[in-house]
C-alpha cells in the first residue's frame, strides 16, 4: 500500500489479506485491471471473422476454418468436438500433416 497506511491490528490484517490475494490468481477474481487482459481459451472470447469472412464465405478468413479443429484439439481440451488424443485415439491426426490441406485424411473415430 503506497497511499494508505494500516494503523491498527485489524488494518494490518486487511493489508496482509490483500497482499496474499494479490499474489494469487487474478484473472477471474478481480475483473479487468489497469493492464490489458488476455483470457485463456477460445470459449471466453468472440472472434468476429473467424467463422465466416466479410463475404459470408470461408475463403477469406484470417485463419483457415480447419484451424478451428486444431484450436480445439491442441490448445483446449474440448472432448465434445474432438477425439481424446491422450487415451483413446492417440493417432487420429497422424495422416494429417497440415490441417488446411490434409484435413480429409483425418481418421473417423468411433467411440
Amino acid at each position: 500500500m503506497n497511499h494508505i497506511r494500516a494503523i491498527n491490528r485489524k488494518a494490518r490484517r486487511i493489508e496482509e489479506h490483500v497482499a496474499e490475494s494479490e499474489g494469487d490468481i487474478l484473472a477471474l477474481q478481480q475483473g479487468p485491471g489497469p493492464k490489458p487482459h488476455i483470457p485463456m481459451g477460445c470459449s471466453l472470447v468472440f472472434y468476429p471473422g473467424w467463422e465466416v469472412d466479410s463475404a459470408g464465405g470461408t475463403a477469406g478468413l484470417c485463419q483457415p476454418v480447419e484451424r478451428d479443429l486444431f484450436d480445439c484439439y491442441v490448445t483446449c481440451f474440448w472432448p465434445a468436438h474432438v477425439p481424446d488424443h491422450l487415451n483413446n485415439a492417440p493417432d487420429w491426426t497422424s495422416k494429417c500433416a497440415t490441417g488446411t490441406k490434409d484435413w480429409r485424411n483425418i481418421d473417423i473415430v468411433f467411440p
Partner: protein, 478 residues
C-alpha cells in the same frame, strides 16, 4: 463502465493527519493527500472511473496512473466500492460451541446497603428472588466451578468474578471457591484468576490480605465524594455509606498491591460532575482506575440523568479524555478507564456480533445455581438459561443470542459505530424497552460521540507515540 462510491466508513482528523475508520471491518488507516482527495471527490456522490480519476488528478496535479493505483488500493480495503458489485457480507454464524471464559458468581443476593438505583432491588429490578436461596452454598459453588472448567475446553485461562448482592456478605464461600477452583484448575493445567466487586463496607484487614495474597482484582462501587456518594448509596435507614467505606478503601489501597484496584462510578442526576468525582477517587483516595457508567433506569426516575445532564457529562468525558491523551503522550497511564477500554477495542479493530460476551463466553450464576446471561439477569425467572447442575438450555441460549445479534438490530445497520457498540447492553435494553434485543437508541449520539473522541485520541497516539498503543496489544480473550 465502472462507477465508484464511498463504502461505509468514518473519517477523522488527528495530529494534522487524516484517518479512515472502516465499517464494518474496524480497520483504521491513515490517508495521504491523494487518498484523502479521492474520498473527498466521492463524498457528494458516486462518480465514474474516468470522472473520478480526471477530477482528482486535476485537483491535486497528480498523474492519472497514480490516481488509478490509489483507487485500486482503496477498493481493496473496501474504503470505496464499485457500485455494480454488491458485496454481501453474509453474517458469520456463531460457533456451535463457544467455550466459557468467565463465570460471574453471585455468591449472595443480599446486600447491607439499599442504593436506591440498584438494578437488583430498585424500582426497575427484573430479579425475582422470592423463595430462592439468599446465599450460595458450598455444593452449588463447587458445581459452578466444575461447570466452568468443563465448559471452557481449549481455553488456557479462565476467570471467576465474585458478585452480589454484597459479595463480602458471603466471604467464607468466596475463600472456599478460590481454594477449590485453584486446585481443580491446577489439575487441568488451566490458569485461573479472580476478581470481585464490592461496596467496601465489609472489608477487614484479614479479608484485604487474603485478596492481595490470592491476586484477586477488586472493583469498588463508589459514586464520588461524600455528598455525591451518599445521595443514593445508603443503608436501609437512609444513612450514607461514605464514612464507613472511606477508611476501608484507604486500607485496601495501602495493603493490596498485587492487582490494580478500580472504582466503578454510577452516574446519576446527583453524581454527574465527572471531573470532581475523578479527582476525588483518583487523587484523594488513590484508586488506580476509575470507570464511569450512567445509571440503568427508566427515564423518569429521580436519579436518571436528563438530556442536558447527559450533554454535560459528555463534555466532561471529553475534557477528561484530553487529559488522558496528554498523559499517554508522555507514556504515562491515566486512570480514566473508559478511554483505555475503548482504545483497546479500537486497537484490535473489533467488529462485534454482540455487544458483550453475555451468554457466550460469560455467564452469571445465582445463589441457587441458576445460570443467567450475565450477573445483571441473575435471579430473573424470565431470563434463566439453565442450572449449573443440568447445564445450559441451548435453545434458550440461542434465542437470547439471536435476539441480541447485530444482524437483527436493523436500526444499527446504517450506524458507523456499530462495530464497537453492537446495539449496547442487553440488560439496559430490557429495562428501557422490555426487549434484550432492542438497540439502546437513547445512547446512539453518546456512543458515536464517544467513539469519535476515542478515535481522535487513537489517531494522535498512532502519530506521536505509537509505542503507547502496544500497551493494548495483548488480547483479552485466550
Amino acid at each position: 463502465m465502472t462507477t465508484y462510491a464511498l463504502a461505509e466508513s468514518h473519517r477523522f482528523h488527528a495530529a494534522a493527519a487524516d484517518f479512515l475508520y472502516l465499517v464494518p471491518s474496524g480497520g483504521i488507516f491513515s490517508l495521504d493527500q491523494l487518498s484523502a482527495a479521492i474520498l473527498d471527490a466521492l463524498a457528494p456522490g458516486p462518480l465514474s472511473r474516468e470522472q473520478l480519476i480526471g477530477r482528482v488528478s486535476q485537483r491535486i496535479a497528480c498523474p492519472p496512473v497514480e490516481v488509478a493505483s490509489c483507487v485500486h488500493e482503496l477498493c481493496q480495503v473496501r474504503a470505496i466500492r464499485d457500485v455494480a458489485t454488491t458485496v454481501v457480507d453474509s453474517p458469520q454464524a456463531l460457533p456451535d460451541h463457544f467455550p466459557l471464559q468467565t463465570l460471574v458468581l453471585n455468591v449472595t443476593n443480599q446486600c447491607n446497603l439499599s442504593c436506591q438505583y440498584c438494578y437488583e432491588f430498585g424500582e426497575d429490578k427484573i430479579a425475582t428472588p422470592e423463595g430462592k436461596k439468599k446465599f450460595m452454598d458450598v455444593e452449588t459453588a463447587q458445581s459452578s466451578v466444575d461447570y466452568l472448567l468443563a465448559q471452557s475446553e481449549g481455553r488456557r485461562s479462565v476467570h471467576i468474578t465474585f458478585f452480589g448482592g454484597e459479595t463480602l456478605m458471603n466471604f467464607p464461600l468466596l475463600r472456599h471457591v478460590v481454594d477449590y477452583s485453584r486446585e481443580q484448575a491446577g489439575r487441568k493445567g488451566v490458569n485461573i484468576d479472580f476478581s470481585l466487586t464490592t461496596n467496601a463496607t465489609l472489608l477487614t484487614p484479614a479479608i484485604i490480605d487474603f485478596l492481595a495474597e490470592n491476586h484477586v482484582g477488586v472493583t469498588v462501587s463508589i459514586d464520588g465524594p461524600k455528598e455525591m456518594n451518599d445521595k443514593f448509596r445508603v443503608f436501609s435507614n437512609g444513612r450514607g455509606s461514605y464514612e464507613i467505606m472511606e477508611p476501608k478503601i484507604r486500607e485496601l489501597l495501602a495493603r493490596h498491591h498485587t492487582r490494580p484496584i478500580a472504582a466503578r462510578v454510577t452516574l446519576t442526576s446527583h453524581a454527574m460532575d465527572v471531573f470532581k468525582i475523578y479527582r476525588h477517587l483518583k487523587h484523594a483516595l488513590g484508586f488506580h482506575e476509575v470507570g464511569f457508567a450512567p445509571v440503568t433506569t427508566s427515564p423518569d426516575r429521580l436519579y436518571s440523568i436528563n438530556e442536558p445532564g447527559m450533554h454535560q457529562v459528555f463534555a466532561q468525558f471529553g475534557e477528561l479524555a484530553e487529559e488522558y491523551l496528554q498523559f499517554a503522550l508522555r507514556g504515562e497511564l491515566h486512570g480514566f478507564s473508559n478511554v483505555s477500554d475503548t482504545l483497546a477495542e479500537l486497537h484490535q479493530g473489533v467488529n462485534k456480533s454482540h455487544p458483550c460476551g453475555a451468554a457466550l463466553g460469560l455467564v452469571g450464576v445465582g445463589p441457587s445455581g441458576d445460570i443467567a446471561p450475565c450477573h445483571r439477569f441473575v435471579d430473573s425467572d424470565e431470563h434463566v438459561l439453565g442450572n449449573v447442575a443440568t447445564g445450559i438450555d441451548r435453545q434458550k441460549q440461542s434465542a437470547f443470542l439471536n435476539r441480541g445479534n447485530i444482524q437483527s438490530k436493523h436500526a444499527c445497520h446504517t450506524c458507523w459505530a456499530r462495530p464497537l457498540c453492537a446495539g449496547g447492553c442487553h440488560h439496559e435494553a430490557f429495562v428501557r424497552y422490555g426487549d434484550t434485543g432492542h438497540p439502546n437508541l437513547h445512547y446512539c449520539d453518546w456512543i458515536r460521540g464517544w467513539t469519535h473522541t476515542c478515535l481522535e485520541i487513537y489517531g494522535v497516539l498512532a502519530e506521536q507515540n505509537p509505542s503507547f498503543l502496544e500497551y493494548f496489544a495483548e488480547r483479552k480473550a485466550q
